[in-house]
């Protein structure tokens, strides 16, 4: 019951969150909306999985959280990338690039 998503998907979600937060700090709902926008609605985040992912990332030290007042004077928890998080983002982007390049090469090879 704890992991309906495969590891790959979980990793992807975390990467997307890192990317989102690299632009500016944001609360949970905002992150969900932004990911939806950025991926042109391809990734409709199962919102229930977002917060566990945020907890995991907080535990690993990639993000930190803080309660702030929103525009309409409500309280929300904002998440922010840490230095470690930024480093991780860079690493994961490299990984992703390498993996996708490999996939591309295979596809090209098979195709020719």
């Amino acid at each position: 019951m704890t992991d309906d998503r495969s590891d790959l998907l979980q990793g992807t979600l975390e990467l997307l969150v890192l990317k989102t937060l690299s632009l500016e700090p944001m609360h949970g709902w905002g992150i969900a909306q932004r990911i939806q926008e950025m991926s042109r609605d391809v990734f409709e985040v199962n919102q229930g999985s977002l917060y566990p992912a945020l907890q995991r990332m907080r535990r690993k030290g990639w993000v930190r959280s803080e309660w702030r007042k929103t525009e309409n004077n409500r309280r929300a928890r904002y998440y922010e990338l840490t230095t470690a998080g930024r480093r991780e983002l860079g690493r994961e982007r490299e990984e992703w690039a390498r993996a996708s390049a490999a996939v591309d090469r295979v596809l090209d090879f098979a195709g020719s």
Partner: protein, 891 residues
Amino acid sequence: MRLLHEIRERVRTLLFRGREEREMREEIRYHIERETEKNVREGMEPGEARRVALLKFGGVDRYQEKVRDARGVRPLEDLLADLRYAARTLRKAPGFTVVAVGTLAIAIGATTAVFTLVDGVLLRPLDFEDPERLVRILEFDADGGGRGTISAPNFRDWVERTEVFEAASLYDEYRPSLEGDEPERVHGGSVNAPYFDLLGVEPAVGRFFLPEEDEPGSVRAVLSWGLWQERFGGDPGVVGATLHLNGFPYTVVGVAPRGMEDPGLQGASFDEPRLWRSTPAYFATNGRGSRSFTAVARLREGVDLESAEERLQAVHTDLAAEHPDENRGKVVKLVPLKEDVVGDVRPALVALLAGVGLILLMACANVANLLLFRASGRTREISVRTALGARRGRIVRQLLSESLLLAVLGGLGGLALGWLATRGLVVLAGDEIPRMDRVTMDLRVLAFAATTVLGVTLLFGAAPAAHATGVDLAGGLASGGGARGGTEGGGAGRLRRALVAAEVALAVVVVAAGALLARSLLELRAVDPGIEVERLLVMEVDPPFDPYFNDETDTLGLRVEGLYRDILRETRALSGVRSAGMIDILPLSGSFNGLPYRLDEEPAPANRSDAPRTELRAVVPEVFRALGIPVVRGRSIVESDRADAPPVAVVNRTLARRHGGEAAIVGMHIHLHGDEPHRIVGVVGDVTEFSLDRPPEATAYIPVTQAPVWMRDEQKLVVRTAGDPIALAGAVRTAVRDVEPRAPVSDVTTMEGVLGSTLARERFRTLLLVSFALVALLLAAVGVFGMVSYGVGRRRRELGVRMAMGASRSDVSRLVVAEGLRPVVAGAIAGLAGAVMAGRAMSGLLFGVAPTDPVTFTLTPVLLLAVAAVAAWLPARRAGRLPVVEVLGAE
């Protein structure tokens, strides 16, 4: 780095759990609000908008679970939750909880106490440097006989000719009179110079003996810590001081460290020495055939025991050839020192440990049974939870946490009980078991107890947990947790019944053994020692060598005679003193001399070795009156029986019976020592001389003034008091000191105390066994209770049917009790057989009771049946009370 961060986060989460939960809920709330608003903006109705938002979020509860999982402290939180729930469950069933925790506490307590004992006595290494290399040197006859003691010249040859020892020392008991303001007799040891160094201890002050100082005539002493504190107030200036022992001056060179374990004489039960002396001359005066000493040695590094022993024996064989008279047919042995000290008690302690181990296992089985009984009543609850989605692992974990809680509570109670029991054991067994003075509960014991608790949890928790996971879901729900009908058959039931039978059998054996010992003890106490034991103060008086025994012209010992009379006169003058006298060896002291004798009026026996023997005592009047020994014929020994008067003697009834009876023997003449016979002037009552379980010996009493010199130098002052004897002890000591300040007074005690110490061993054994018996009885009762309860629980339906068919309540109860008692009877029969064997094995320890005493062997099984019947009746009664409708119908 990341790991550290993770740990910090987890701890933080754990600590601020409440706040975290609140924040999580608030975060969700915000999210749902925003999503709802968005939906409303997109045109939905508020109610619809909220519902869609919730749907999209995907199940708030499940989300919360997932967040909690992600937080990473789930297992710990679950454990705490389980424990809290378990505590609630246990609180709701106080009877069960008390019985289960009590059973565990008693079993764990007993196990912990015995382990403390075993650890302190057997496992703990000797408190010396590198103790494995320390050995005792012993000598026996080739066939194994002999006491093991050795002689000084042999010792020297062994040490010099083999090269297996790094250092070695002889040891002899030394009991000098220590002079001073308060002269006293002290226990001590005579050793060689290397003694302390070979043990590897450091002096508290000063130093130890040096081999260079071993010249003839040098006399040096080392004090024990205790003696140093008591008599010298812990003053470091004691080094270099002079001590007068038996009149000779000794120089104090140092003080032994606090709490030193002196290996002393062979084996154990030796008074701790208060000082040691090194006098090379002393050992040198003893010949090769005079085997009065023991020896302690340290093996050289790298030399193992077996080869050292071989080497030693080879040398000893040479010595037998060189000195055939003294050494022929002897073998020499090396024993590790620790083995020598504790070897005797090892089998008993190991047996004790096995015994409590058995009790612990049975306690676990009992508690498992009780838990199963409870679990069977919760089958429905478990089925429901499983249907609702609880994972099997979760349920098992929750049941195990109940067991863990029980075990922990039982463990805590057990530690407390164990601590008490250990203290009790130390007090009771102090003289019987070596090394008891340092037995305490330490970390090792705590670790052992913790391991026991965990092991116990698994042992008895596994059963109900396994049972629970094997639960038939549909069956559980449909039948409402009821039984599948019929008596509980199959493997599990047989096992349970066999277990109860085994517990009953064990209880029968232990109870019977305990009863035999208890009766034996009572019989012993009832033995008439032949004296009046109450209100009797005794103490030892030792006149100093100079001036009482060093004057050769004083052949009749008039000086010491005068001393004794003066002491008695002063003592009798004290208020509260009824009568007083002296005797050289007290009754019940366990000492004996056993001299051959003959009567003038009877023919002498053909061989010297066939001569009859008698105990001989030197007395000063009015000791018979003081001790309460009746004079049955003739007269007692009186003041006028002085050194220069005709020699007289008084004999006891046992001796008189040998030679024609009381009337006949008065007037006969008895040769006891020397040439001149003593005229028998009276007969007195018998007295148990050694111990209560042996019949009185033939005894002859002579005035100390007419006794040989070696019987005059030590007398026990016996004072019959009007009130509490100890209250007068100070006054009597002062009276003695006033007469002769240089005479040490020691071993001040009461006759009751002497009697008590002769019974100490029996008392300890009996108490131990009776405690065991009570525990075994309790276990058996709980076992029967559990078994019958479980059976009743399983058979509710069947019993309900019977009652609906017309059986009365008492019928049902009787049925349950009868079936419950079947394994009890089987166990009792097996137990009786075991008890007979145990009785035979114990017959050496019994007094006045036959090993197969019919009364004991009848009452014990009856007692067990009665206890079992009560234990079975309690749940059976409840069975009879079951409302039929509830059992048969819907639950």
